[in-house]
């Protein structure tokens, strides 16, 4: 049994320091306070002084409280029993189920050897035309959903979770509103997807240090399931809260901030999480979808900005819809050539026309006269928004392509679409009369 230390030297924010020896960097300890015991992680060693980050926060800790080192880094139990369970960021049950203690695995492990990676090759179907048709999600991709607070990003995430063809979903909630937590739980339960879901949820009321653990713990579990051959979808919401938690700890630690108060290693911190997305050549895969709220709808804010440099594109959620401009799946070219022959043509053609519609809208708002072509575009744009962009639309890719042709045919003459004659001959809907 490890020694117990009962003299805390300093308490600042969520960080306490004790004099102790034989302690490893990254080791866990238990701090017993009058409010109960909390886990804490060693974040700094300086001669005999050990700084620990207390999961439950520093509030109410007394210098006379006891600290007991556990001799191991942060770990999580891994087994099939995880399925259908809900935990806190510290790995404690949140659902009144039993505590799992078997087969503990470390979190935040080393990165995958780049030479063992393969080029992504399979699409993940979501039933959302703006994703499947226009910005296809690919297995092992890491994609953020950029949006402003108040947008239905959690609804979108839940829908993808329900419909995506994956074996397992790991949901990591960071600073989640309690209502949103219940929303996820209820939605997954009602949809019967709870049994293939593992949830690690830190709500806004929970300690901020636990929020920092959520991505690592979720991804460590996902990685093990992927190595067992499962295709895992990891949903993280909201990574901006994670970054803010990093900021909070860094400032308490008196680190020099780099950009708007965020620590200088924000990029590396985010990258080490996102880069866990992988397709193991002879096993399963991890796909990461993460919400990044943009304060003030500002894409140059450090969090979305650093994220954009790390991820393979982004979905831009605005006005309750996935914007065709600004959204990008960098990996879509790997898969959309082998779905249906008209996929790429419809994708490019419809977006070009939609861009023209936006120009026309601008012209209209400035009071310019509308030509016959402009009127066609206006009709097209409205149909596109209602039947493609609306998030309630739920159809498979093939149906979405057919719908695309239908919309085009109801607005334009074939040659006005700029599509190849070969495709027009084959797919252009024949008039009934």
């Amino acid at each position: 049994m490890k020694k117990v230390y009962s003299r805390i030297e300093s308490i600042a924010g969520n960080v306490i320091a004790v004099k102790a020896d034989d302690v490893a960097y990254g080791e866990l300890a238990e701090v017993s306070t009058r409010f109960g015991t909390s886990l804490a992680e060693v974040i700094r060693l300086d001669s005999g002084l050990v700084s620990l980050q207390v999961f439950a926060g520093g509030r109410g800790i007394s210098t006379g409280d006891e600290v007991r080192f556990l001799g191991n880094p942060m770990r999580v139990s891994f087994s099939d029993d995880l399925k259908g369970r809900i935990f806190t960021g510290a790995g404690e049950p949140r659902d009144k189920g039993p505590t799992l203690t078997e087969n503990l695995i470390p979190i935040g492990g080393p990165s995958v050897n780049p030479t063992k990676r393969i080029i992504p090759r399979e699409m993940i179907r979501t039933g959302i035309p703006m994703i499947d048709l226009f910005n296809t999600l690919v297995k092992s991709q890491k994609l953020p959903i950029f949006s402003v607070s108040g947008e239905p990003y959690n609804q979108l995430l839940a829908r993808i979770a329900m419909q995506a063809e994956v074996d397992l979903i790991v949901l990591g909630g960071m600073g989640l509103k309690y209502d949103d937590y219940l929303f996820f739980k209820d939605t997954l339960e009602e949809g019967g997807a709870l049994q293939k879901t593992v949830m690690f949820v830190n709500t806004a009321a929970d300690p901020v240090v636990e929020c920092l653990m959520v991505p690592d713990i979720s991804l460590a579990v996902a990685e093990r399931f992927a190595l067992k051959g499962l295709n895992v979808l990891v949903l993280l919401t909201d990574m901006t809260n994670f970054a803010d938690a990093l900021k909070e700890i860094a400032i308490t630690q008196e680190q020099v901030p780099s950009n708007r108060g965020y620590p200088g290693d924000l990029y590396s911190q985010l990258a080490s999480r996102y880069e866990k997305a992988v397709d193991f050549s002879d096993s399963g895969s991890i796909t990461v979808l993460a919400v990044t709220t943009m304060p003030g709808d500002d894409v140059t804010h450090p969090v979305p900005d650093n994220t954009g440099y790390i991820t393979e594109g982004q979905f831009y959620l605005k006005g309750g819809r996935i914007e065709p401009f600004g959204s990008l799946s960098r990996l879509k070219q790997q898969v959309n050539g082998k779905t249906r022959e008209d996929h790429r043509a419809i994708m490019d053609g419809m977006i070009k026309l939609f861009a023209a519609y936006r120009d026309t809208l601008e012209k209209k708002s400035m009071g310019f006269q509308m030509s016959a072509w402009d009127s066609k575009l206006l009709k097209y744009g409205e149909l596109f928004e209602a039947q493609m962009m609306d998030l309630s639309v739920n159809i498979p890719l093939e149906a979405a392509l057919d719908k695309g042709w239908e919309i085009l045919a109801s607005c334009f003459e074939p040659q006005e679409t700029g599509l190849q004659t070969k495709l027009l001959d084959k797919f252009w809907p024949k008039k009934a009369d």
Binding site: R44, P73, G108, K116, G264, E275, T300
Partner: protein
């Protein structure tokens, strides 16, 4: 070996403080012994008997009082035959071999030989017993791919030596003793095919550094013609995310007219490296007819790999580049992205609690960036032949704003600036190099005066375009409108290039000269148009003809036909040719 030992006294992130007994050198390598594993670290600050080191691995599990061994050597790379075609991490660990050993994950504390010890090389001696040699002199050669790899006197042997013995021609492995040298004191030195060189010291075994004048052809029109890069020069490619920095570097790494390409994937996505790893062995180098991988070295320390090794990776890459330059070869180093390298410095500087400069980057950021780019250069070697290292670095400015410290520090020291713009990439105008913001101090493949003349249409055309947004087309004169159309035309058919089209992806200089001549003809001609709509229609037709011709094979009958069709189409409408344009065309034709 200095036999200096120490004990860990503190850990903070990837910085470990050690109390030492005995001498230590700055940038010396140390190993921290953690439960049977040895973690590599570099000394970055010495204060009395307290030494701060940055660890090239995750530091979890390190405890106070763990033993540390100092090697007395600075962080170094192995130089010798067999580097080409290899994939290394930032510390020159061969990643495929690491994968064989540890599987999917990069376990800490694994350090393997950079060069395989069991491969045999066909040695041909060059020196004889009794010859006098000094550092970097060739002792013998071995063939490596299509190159003659020189086995040289190690660069760290600073005096003059007599050759005491030489191995006869035959097959040897890299660690075999090939030559024995004797210095003036009668001490003997055994020399094999490999030696080590500290990465943070530039290799300077040449007679003279020359001015970079010869263009390094990239086969990308906007670069070669408008913003050229010279062999031995430096350039940077800043741009926001999604503007196509990495794609542009990938295209350059394939097409650049150099002998060897070294790609330093520094802190970027692993997925992008994978594309290169998988595609390059399949692609054929048009110059040699062999796989592109045979002329490539990849140093890859992607974003989730340890940060300190990321800082080392660009130095590892440039040291290997300098080594091949010593053989009279032209080497191109592509670093993607130097911002991640600068961020690695920032992280370390923060841990050292140094006083921060702008955006918390260390105050020495500029001088470090400058000294890195200064390792590029074309040099005259002792034998009189030339070798060059060209460095092209991408920069990932925060928020896409070029006014940030890394971009600004880089702009001060490079010879060419290829600024990528979000506006152009959003409009799918690739490569998204902004023609008005970018610049180059090097010589183009085309007469600079002609280039400047053509460039006027871009700047003036853009001004007219801006004006038209306010006053509308009806408020613009036909003359101005023509300049606008001509600028747009030049942009569409010459500056933009389709890197996915097999023909258009790489354009030879001859072809660039011919097409440039045709474009100048269009820019310099006067036309009669009744309305602006007529002019627009005619120009879009002409543009389509040029674009079609761009994807036809060079010097094929179809191309000649398409070219003739363009000239005929043009002749129908032209009413006169500007004198300046006439001179340019005549000069170009003389050159072709």
């Amino acid at each position: 070996m200095t036999n200096t030992k120490g004990l860990v006294t503190g850990v903070n992130g990837n910085m470990v403080t050690v109390r030492v007994e005995g001498p230590v050198a700055l940038n010396e390598v140390a190993f921290i012994e953690v439960e049977g594993k040895r973690l590599k670290a570099e000394v970055i600050r010495v204060r009395g008997d307290s030494v701060q080191t940055q660890v090239f691995e995750m530091t979890k599990g390190i405890k106070v009082d763990m033993p540390v061994v100092f090697t007395g050597e600075m962080l170094a790379v192995e130089l010798g035959p067999g580097l080409l075609g290899k994939i290394y991490d930032g510390l020159q660990n061969p990643l495929p071999e690491v994968a064989i050993k540890t599987g999917y994950f990069l376990e800490p504390g694994i350090y393997l030989d950079a060069l395989p010890r069991d491969v045999k090389w066909a040695w041909t001696p060059v020196v004889k017993v009794g010859d006098t040699v000094e550092r970097a002199d060739t002792l013998g050669t071995v063939p490596e791919g299509t190159f003659t790899h020189r086995i040289m006197v190690p660069f760290g042997m600073l005096s003059s030596y007599k050759v005491k013995s030489v191995k006869p021609a035959g097959e040897y492995v890299v660690s075999d003793e090939m030559v024995v040298l004797e210095d003036s004191d009668g001490k003997t030195h055994s020399v094999s095919m490999i030696f080590e060189w500290p990465v943070k010291r530039a290799i300077d075994c040449y007679d003279e550094r020359l001015k970079p004048t010869e263009p390094m052809v990239t086969k990308t029109r906007i670069i070669d013609t408008f913003f050229p890069v010279a062999k031995g020069g430096t350039y940077c490619v800043p741009g926001p995310f999604g503007a196509g920095k990495t794609v542009l570097q990938q295209v350059t790494s394939r097409n650049a007219d150099v002998d060897i390409v070294i790609i330093a994937a520094c802190g970027e996505r692993a997925g992008e490296v994978v594309e290169t790893l998988i595609e390059f062995p399949e692609l054929i180098d048009p110059k040699t007819g062999r796989s592109l991988m045979e002329r490539t070295i990849i140093v890859c320390n992607t974003s989730s790999m340890p940060v300190a090794a990321r800082e080392a990776s660009v130095y590892t890459a440039v040291t290997m580049a300098e080594y091949y330059r010593q053989m009279g070869l032209d080497v191109l180093l592509l670093a993607d992205s130097t911002s991640r390298w600068a961020q690695a410095m920032r992280e370390m500087s923060g841990r050292l609690e140094e006083i921060p400069g702008e955006e918390a980057f260390p105050a020495y950021l500029e001088s470090v960036i400058a000294s890195f780019y200064e390792r590029a250069g074309i040099v005259r070697l002792k034998g009189g032949e030339k070798g060059s290292v060209t460095i092209g670095g991408t920069v990932s400015p925060a928020g896409g704003n070029f006014e940030e410290p890394v971009t600004q520090a880089t702009l001060k020291v490079v010879g060419a600036f290829h600024g990528l713009s979000r506006e152009r990439s959003d409009a799918r105008k690739y490569p998204a190099i902004h023609p008005l913001d970018s610049w180059s101090k090097y010589a183009s493949v085309i007469d600079p005066k002609a280039v400047a003349w053509a460039h006027y249409f871009l700047s003036r055309g853009s001004e007219v375009g801006q004006m038209m947004k306010v006053v509308g087309e009806e408020g613009t004169s036909l003359d101005d409108f023509m300049i606008y159309l001509k600028g747009e035309f030049l942009d569409a058919v010459y500056l933009q290039q389709n890197s996915f089209d097999p023909i258009d992806a790489s354009v030879s200089t001859d072809r660039q000269r011919l097409i440039f001549g045709r474009v100048v003809k269009v820019l310099g001609s006067s036309f009669e148009f009744k309305t602006k709509e007529d002019a627009r229609m005619w120009f879009s037709k002409l543009r389509q003809m040029f674009l079609d011709a761009n994807s036809i094979e060079w010097n094929s009958p179809t191309f000649t036909e398409a070219d003739k069709a363009i000239l005929d189409f043009l002749a129908d409408k032209v009413t006169g040719l500007h004198a300046a344009a006439k001179t340019i065309i005549e000069n170009l034709e003389r050159a072709v």
